[in-house]
Symmetry: C2
Subunit: 213 residues, 2 copies
């Protein structure tokens, strides 16, 4: 398998965590977002959406959208599973992943921040208020869910799907100045994951395209 | 099962389509978003996220996020299936659903449009430009995917998961003035779905809380 991605892309980071939790080998193909390589002809021929990540399977199929890629990995390589046994617990895992993927991350994406600044003319305060209202609000909602579902990790005591989404979201939010001081359970899980081999392997700083310093 | 929702909420509409395609009976409990009932104590006690839809199962579990609810329905009531047989085709179905759920709908949500107008001060032109850039851009990306995957419906000739997302997105985008004139395959699928019993049953206008005229 080939994973097309970018070290600091939070959606790529989610898939790297899933691959590492499942002990799967893959070739990592960096797509430099700062140079616009996701819009190059060569990449668009593979993935017309012009987004990372994309996973090229051994059959040559190109899969897009991090949660769809992770669902494919779960179906194709079921062990170790990233999902809890109970149907309602699986729904909770997916709900946490989806709240972060559809209500937090989209509003924090670099292209949106650039649009707010360059097209709409928001100043730094305005962007910060936006980030705390939307990504911050969605993360606060997840914090409430975690009070019901979490043990050492998002759902009980085994790392899985929801943790693949929580860690990159917390990483990105901290980087962009979202106030995460009230998200105590989330921080506790994030910090625990930083000690886990799979999460260490998947961390942006440990990728071949990472820019140091 | 009880579905808490609102007639015009596109995320509720998705779940109604899935329930209807699976011929499942449920009690529909309207939550009036215009009156802020999703923020009432009674509702927050059920769903602390304060969003619709929520599905209360016969076991009393309350599930949130439309795609997580639909995945639960698919696991719990597998026939008729909303997913194709092939793993890569299933990934395509999920990718279309996720592109609409995480890159189109969030940027069109009423609370975001209100923030753009009331907090940031965008005029009607500015909001229209935003809607065409983000929801419109994501829908154009899905249109490209459909060129590879669609038959009569999003994935081949059977209605399923991706169609549960396409129809409400097309409905909402048309309502909010996104230019959909270039989305020919999407419109063709949307229009075909309007003739299908399950989609007719799930349509906003056919709900008990619909406001006519």
């Amino acid at each position: 398998m080939k994973l097309f991605g970018y070290w600091r892309s939070s959606a790529t980071y989610r898939v790297r965590i899933a691959l590492a939790l499942k002990n799967l080998d893959y070739e990592y193909v960096p797509v430099n977002l700062l140079k616009g390589e996701q819009k190059s002809e060569a990449y668009l021929a593979r993935n017309p959406l012009g987004l990372v990540p994309a996973l090229e399977t051994d059959d040559g199929a190109v899969l897009t959208q991090s949660l769809a890629i992770i669902a494919y990995l779960e179906e194709t390589f079921p062990e170790p599973s990233l999902m809890p046994d109970d149907a309602a617990a699986r729904a909770n895992a997916r709900s946490i992943a989806l709240t972060l993927a559809s209500e937090a991350q989209p509003f924090m994406n670099l292209r949106i921040q650039q649009y707010l600044k360059n097209e709409i003319g928001l100043d730094e305060n305005g962007v910060n208020k936006w980030l705390n209202q939307w990504p911050g609000g969605a993360m606060a909602a997840v914090e409430k869910t975690l009070a019901r579902t979490a043990g050492d990790f998002c759902i009980g005591d085994t790392p899985g799907l929801a943790d693949c989404f929580l860690v990159p979201q917390f990483f990105g939010a901290s980087r962009f100045g979202v106030d995460v001081s009230g998200l105590k359970k989330m921080k506790e899980i994030h910090d625990r994951c930083q000690q886990h081999t799979a999460f260490i392997k998947a961390h942006p700083d440990n990728q071949p395209d990472a820019v140091k310093g």
